[in-house]
């Protein structure tokens, strides 16, 4: 089935929050801290502005606790006495004219008595979360290992650059506060509004508008803007719209956690893993936000898709006075898997082993266990996944060709790199159980069905996949399935649209709720198509004005056990597995790297919709290419100084090759339609594959991303290789 809303988007008729008609509204904007840490000494309103024309909101206008409810209750809605990061919201202003409120924001001075700020996470003593995974006896295994290879790796922050910036509208409908906007998690927003505004759930209604990209950047941050718009709306009694400019969005909202990962790996001389000792540090920024969960996923994936009897992974998330970091596709796994997969190639280089054979030796086989002791017995041949990538990419032939090419070319070098990796879908451990996700499928009077969930569409294909699942389950045509707007007045909490869970887990609820609907309509489980439609219509004739609804609540699949205190057991119901290759060409004159071919092979259970699935892989890969080569956050006082699209660069169509995608299918019994989660997996692999390729091509040894031309040139100079290769005529 083609994307069901494609034509609406292609014709420009899809209406995002800033496209909606709105009568008599005020534009809202935020006045922010200029300093990374300190006490607010004064707030000065410039003379010459008629402030009576503006709605002004500060922390005293907050009816409930001054807290944006999330995991912890540590982040204020508006700073009261202290500020902990540049751009921290202090005041809110609103006015009918957008221009006037822009000028007004410039006319308020937040005077901060500065205090020393912590800006280097590598040395921050302020730990917000510690986690540890232990398996076997790492200390002894390392001591006894014939070979030990160490390495330290770093990944930088990444900005989401969703093409639609963040935005919210807030207004009162009677005594119900309505908030509409771009978001991934309507119920997170409800919870935040209820808490800080001291409102009962029945007095808060949140509606997700078509969302122009999220990638995690609209997971927790929208709650802030929702609260800002709501506070202005409540104070003024008028609708309020807040739309972030691109520069503000880039500077003031969350980004991927920067990370530092240290590996000490014990092996036999022929490359079998004996011990993995891994340390992970991530920068949380000024507030907790979701850092504990990012850290959790980071450490769970840190040891890679390999078998090893002795593993210790110690992780900590620390506070700094940077703008808080938050969810971004991959959620910790890209960071630790960059380190792990680059380290595999460093090991191969150190031991003079083939990088492919090293992986072949260690890739998890059926029945072996992960670092948390999870038995992998899903029937997937992980070596076959890798072999398919090697086959499609022509890996071996290319390696030989490159050797010739590099020996004869004056200034160009080519290389091909590999990464094998994995990604657990759904919330970690007991997370899905704790979410208690619920979903409903209603039978409408005309015989069609309506899927009601809080799982939103942001381009990843929710509307289409839910339609396909419901239609397939009940034997209906896609036109007979409608997906309800994600309006918390109508839809149950199916959990946040994150963690690659929407198809696998929430899709499973669609199937079960459809089954429940069928039963309530008086049919047996085999009924399909017209029989279903007729039964629904008949039910409505017999129960005029009634509601016919099938429900489903999340049930943990059998055999999944997780211990949160020891961090052992089944971290995820299912892992998706992948092998990616990247072929690069480096111009030694400029040290610019181009990816000239990319192959992405993965096993994600059944592929429900090939076009959508391929699109998810290609999109994730290109984000990974950007993160590896050109996306760099430049910091000033812990805030992004290059907060423009001219100086924070994401790939254009001309910067990337066609991304060649292949799927190996192995149905997952507990995923909707046999599917596993897919959305985040593709961003775990590109960075290490590319950097491994660059190392192959040039002989440099990058340990951090992005590998910008400047960094690569420096590395080559240090290694003295570049000078000899590039600077003499052949």
């Amino acid at each position: 089935m083609q994307r069901r809303e494609a034509l609406t988007k292609l014709t420009g008729r899809e209406r995002y929050v800033d496209d909606l008609p709105l009568e008599g509204f005020l534009w809202g904007m935020t006045v922010r801290s200029p300093a990374p840490r300190g006490r607010i000494a004064a707030i000065r309103f410039a003379k010459g502005v008629d402030w009576s024309q503006f709605v002004v909101v500060d922390h005293r206008d907050i009816p409930g606790p001054n807290v944006v409810a999330l995991i912890e209750q540590d982040q204020p809605v508006l700073a009261a006495d202290v500020v902990r990061h540049v751009h921290e919201p202090v005041l809110l202003l609103a006015h009918p004219s957008r221009d006037a409120v822009r000028r007004a924001v410039r006319s308020v001075e937040i005077v901060v008595a500065p205090e020393p700020a912590t800006l280097d996470f590598r040395v921050s003593p302020d730990v917000l979360k510690h986690l540890k995974i232990e398996k076997g006896d790492v200390a002894r295994a390392l001591a006894q290992a014939p070979v030990v290879v160490s390495g330290t790796y770093e990944t930088g922050a990444q900005e989401h650059v969703y093409l639609e910036t963040q935005g919210m509208i807030a207004y009162l409908e009677g005594d119900v506060l309505v908030v509409k906007g771009s978001m991934q998690c309507p119920y997170y927003v409800v919870k935040a509004l209820q808490h800080a505004l001291a409102r009962d759930e029945s007095k808060v209604r949140v509606i997700q508008t078509p969302t122009g990209g999220g990638f995690g950047g609209k997971e927790e941050f929208p709650s802030h803007i929702a609260l800002h718009a709501a506070l202005l709306g409540l104070k003024s009694g008028r609708p309020v719209k807040v739309i972030y400019d691109r520069g503000e969005d880039m500077a003031a909202t969350t980004k991927r956690h920067p990370a530092l990962v240290r590996h000490r790996t014990g092996l036999t001389r022929d490359g079998r893993l004996l011990a993995q000792d891994i340390e992970v540090v991530i920068d949380g920024g000024a507030y907790v936000t979701l850092s504990p969960v990012v850290l959790s996923r980071a450490i769970i994936h840190a040891a890679g898709p390999y078998a090893c009897d002795h593993v210790r992974i110690v992780g900590r998330a620390v506070f700094t006075n940077a703008v808080p970091f938050g969810a971004f596709r991959g959620f910790g796994a890209p960071q630790t898997q960059f380190a792990g997969e680059r380290h595999m190639d460093v090991i191969a280089q150190t031991l003079a082993l083939d990088a492919v054979e090293l992986r072949r030796t260690n890739l998890l086989r059926e029945g072996q266990t992960t670092a948390t002791g999870q038995v992998i017995s899903d029937g997937t041949d992980r070596v076959a996944v890798m072999e398919r990538a090697l086959e499609l990419s022509g890996y071996r032939v290319k390696q030989r060709d490159h050797a010739t090419f590099n020996a004869t070319q004056a200034t160009l070098r080519r290389g091909i790199g590999l990464a094998t990796f994995y990604h657990g879908a759904g919330f970690t451990g007991g997370g899905e159980v704790a979410l208690k996700s619920r979903l409903r499928v209603a039978g409408l009077p005309d015989g069609r069905v309506e899927v009601l969930s809080a799982s939103i569409e942001m381009g990843q294909g929710t509307l289409t996949v839910f339609t396909e699942l419901a239609a397939a389950r009940l034997g209906l045509a896609p036109e007979d399935v409608t997906i309800a707007e994600a309006d918390t007045a109508r839809v149950p909490n199916s959990g946040p649209t994150v963690a690659s869970r929407t198809t696998m887990i929430v899709g499973g609820l669609v199937e079960r709720a459809a089954d429940d609907l069928r039963r309530r309509a008086g049919l047996d489980d085999a009924a399909q198509g017209d029989a279903v439609k007729q039964a629904i219509r008949r039910w409505h004739r017999d129960h005029a004005g009634g509601t016919l609804v099938g429900e489903a609540t999340y049930e943990k699949p059998p055999g999944i056990e997780w211990d949160d205190t020891t961090y052992r057991g089944d971290a995820y119901g299912a892992f998706a597995w992948a092998a990616y290759t990247a072929e690069v060409e480096v111009d030694l004159r400029t040290c610019a790297t181009r990816v000239i071919d990319f192959v992405a092979v993965q096993e994600v259970g059944n592929v429900l919709n090939p076009t959508l699935a391929r699109g998810q892989v290609q999109g994730g890969v290109v984000q990974g290419i950007g993160w590896a080569l050109m996306e760099e956050c430049k910091w000033r006082d812990g805030a992004m100084a290059n907060n423009q699209l001219t100086n924070y660069l994401i790939p254009t169509s001309d910067d990337v090759p066609s991304i060649r995608v292949a799927f190996l299918e192995n149905p997952y019994a507990h995923g909707a339609g046999g599917a596993k989660g897919l959305g985040e997996l593709p961003i775990d692999g590109p960075a290490p594959a590319i950097v491994n390729a660059v190392a192959r091509a040039t002989g440099a040894d990058p340990r951090a991303i992005p590998v910008t031309p400047e960094r690569l040139m420096e590395l080559l100079e240090i290694a003295d290789l570049g000078l000899r290769i590039a600077d003499s005529a052949p």
Partner: protein, 167 residues
């Protein structure tokens, strides 16, 4: 209707007429208005999107006298007497290859992408000197990784018989 643009100063307002999607339109604009603002907020043609305000992302692409331009960089007063075409004027039937080949995911970049792609389709001879990827490089997309877009353009060109198979 709420004021989306600068505080209106009647003394500096400019009356102008231009051809919009094939029909003449008369508006009063403020000199500080960008074509993007006039289209979206004054004329309620919200198909054209603002992604960056600096001419980098192409989400605001419209045709000005038949050429794709960033409407965030066009002062509204400059279109007086000229021809502007927006996404709203496109025949949806021409979009079938884009549906089929996965050109859109979240849709935020899509109108701009389609406007540039449509123009390429009308100038297939450009593919003698340019690749599709080079011509689309002014339209940033964060969702698709570009294959869906490039495949769609190539497919659309194939179907109209124009241009060689080139990505």
């Amino acid at each position: 209707m709420s004021d989306h643009s600068a505080i209106r100063n009647p003394q500096s307002a400019i009356s102008m007429t231009f051809t919009l999607n094939g029909s003449p339109v008369s508006v009063e604009i403020d000199p500080v208005d960008r074509l993007l603002d006039t289209l979206r907020y004054q004329l309620a043609l919200t198909g054209t999107k603002e992604g960056c305000g600096e001419g980098e992302c192409g989400a605001c692409t419209v045709h000005l006298d038949g050429l794709p331009v960033n409407s965030c960089l066009v002062p509204s007063y400059q279109v007086r007497g000229h021809r502007v075409d927006t996404i709203e004027s496109l025949d949806p039937r021409a979009l079938e290859p884009f549906e089929r080949c996965g050109a859109t995911q979240c849709g935020a970049c899509t109108p701009g992408v389609v406007m540039t792609a449509w123009w390429i389709g009308q100038h297939a001879d450009l593919l003698r000197t340019h690749t599709i990827r080079e011509l689309m490089a002014g339209n940033l997309c964060r969702c698709t990784g570009y294959d869906g877009i490039v495949d769609s353009v190539a497919e659309a060109l194939r179907e109209t018989g124009g241009g060689r198979r080139e990505t």
